[in-house]
Chain length 191, copies 2
DNA sequence: GGAAACACTTAACCTAGATTAAGAAGTGGT
DNA sequence: ACCACTTCTTAATCTAGGTTAAGTGTTTCC
């Protein structure tokens, strides 16, 4: 059974024919860990739907420090949304964390899809809505909570992921340095 | 000329009849400064489109500290997106900053609108997309930049707004205390 | 299989920004 | 006009988290 169709079915119901149209517009690809699918300064012409493995997006600030924007495991989409939507050069990197199998949807094909299967417009609207809500929550959390509380939230929200991710990436996601993260974990263990 | 229709026209083109349908689903209201339109714990059943004045949304953390999530001036929408989309109790307050005239769209009417004027689904998708992009940028900025750089970005992005907002709200938006904000501004003046 | 590169830890020291407190300057309501 | 209330500022002190540096595994890859 196809993971993408399963996910779509959670939000809109497509006929068999529509399902086939959707799949016809996507392409499967396999990537090794550490493959970089998008670099800062490039236009994000495709978005990726993860079937297997883990991807992440991040930017690198003017001091060379990496900030993880998102992780994507199976069932999740990932892209530089700014760049993908505007078709302008973006600031994000997208990199394969663990050997991955992904479905690729080009911007072009997405536009065609909206025309041929209008229900997909609703589907993507809902995805973006959820993404906005999650993002806004993260903003609020970053402003309201200490690093410790953010880490706690993270381990609960991404319980399966935590064990597959290097610590420095978790540290980066919650917004602290690897050194402080290490110190914090040691402190938590004593309790 | 209607500000809402102007805004819609920037993204999708509606027939006169469709325009009338849209307006029929909204309702105009006037509010005095300091009116609270939504409180934490309530379900956000309406979203607001600002015609005149300024609104803001914020949450209050467990220490009683206010964190401004967004400002809305004429031409902008504001709502607790989590609550509005899920129709569950939210954590945001929405308050009138300056005497305001707003268009109100209920969740119910929005759903009807999607059915009667399907182009509006595209319109709102685009709004949400833009909102997501802006939000993600703010997250990255908060992780990458010092308070000073964030303030600088803020004054450029909201140049007209800066003069109408109390400093503590700007401080809250960029994520510092009013005291530190004050110190920082004094420091900037010396340069 | 060995060197280089990377991941993680620990510890000493440092700093951006928080906290507390107190005064000055608006602002609004009656 | 006046009192109450909130906003803004300044300054002393404090702390969460950053920086630097050094040491110990662990991968990776010729």
């Amino acid at each position: 059974m196809n993971l993408l169709l399963e996910n779509i079915a959670k939000h809109v119901s497509l006929s068999n024919e529509e399902q086939e149209r959707v799949l016809a517009f996507t392409e499967t690809q396999h990537y090794k860990a550490k493959t970089i699918l998008l670099k800062e300064g490039q236009v994000c012409t495709h978005s990726f739907f993860v079937l297997k493995g883990i991807l992440r997006s991040y930017n690198i600030d003017e001091n060379g420090v990496e900030h993880v924007v998102s992780f994507a495991c199976p069932g999740w989409w990932i892209a530089d949304m700014y760049s993908f939507l505007s078709q302008r050069p973006g600031q994000l990197y997208i990199e394969v964390n663990e050997d991955a199998e992904v479905l690729i949807l080009s911007k072009e094909n997405q536009e065609k899809l909206y025309l041929e299967v209008p229900k997909m417009e609703r589907f993507f609207r809902i995805l973006i809505e959820n993404s906005l809500v999650a993002n806004q929550q993260r903003l609020i959390d970053n402003m309201s909570f200490t690093a410790e509380a953010r880490y706690d939230k993270f381990t609960k929200k991404y319980a399966e992921l935590v064990h597959c991710l290097p610590q420095k990436q978790i540290a980066s996601y919650i917004g602290v340095t690897p050194e402080f993260f290490s110190k914090m974990k040691a402190r938590l263990l004593k309790k």
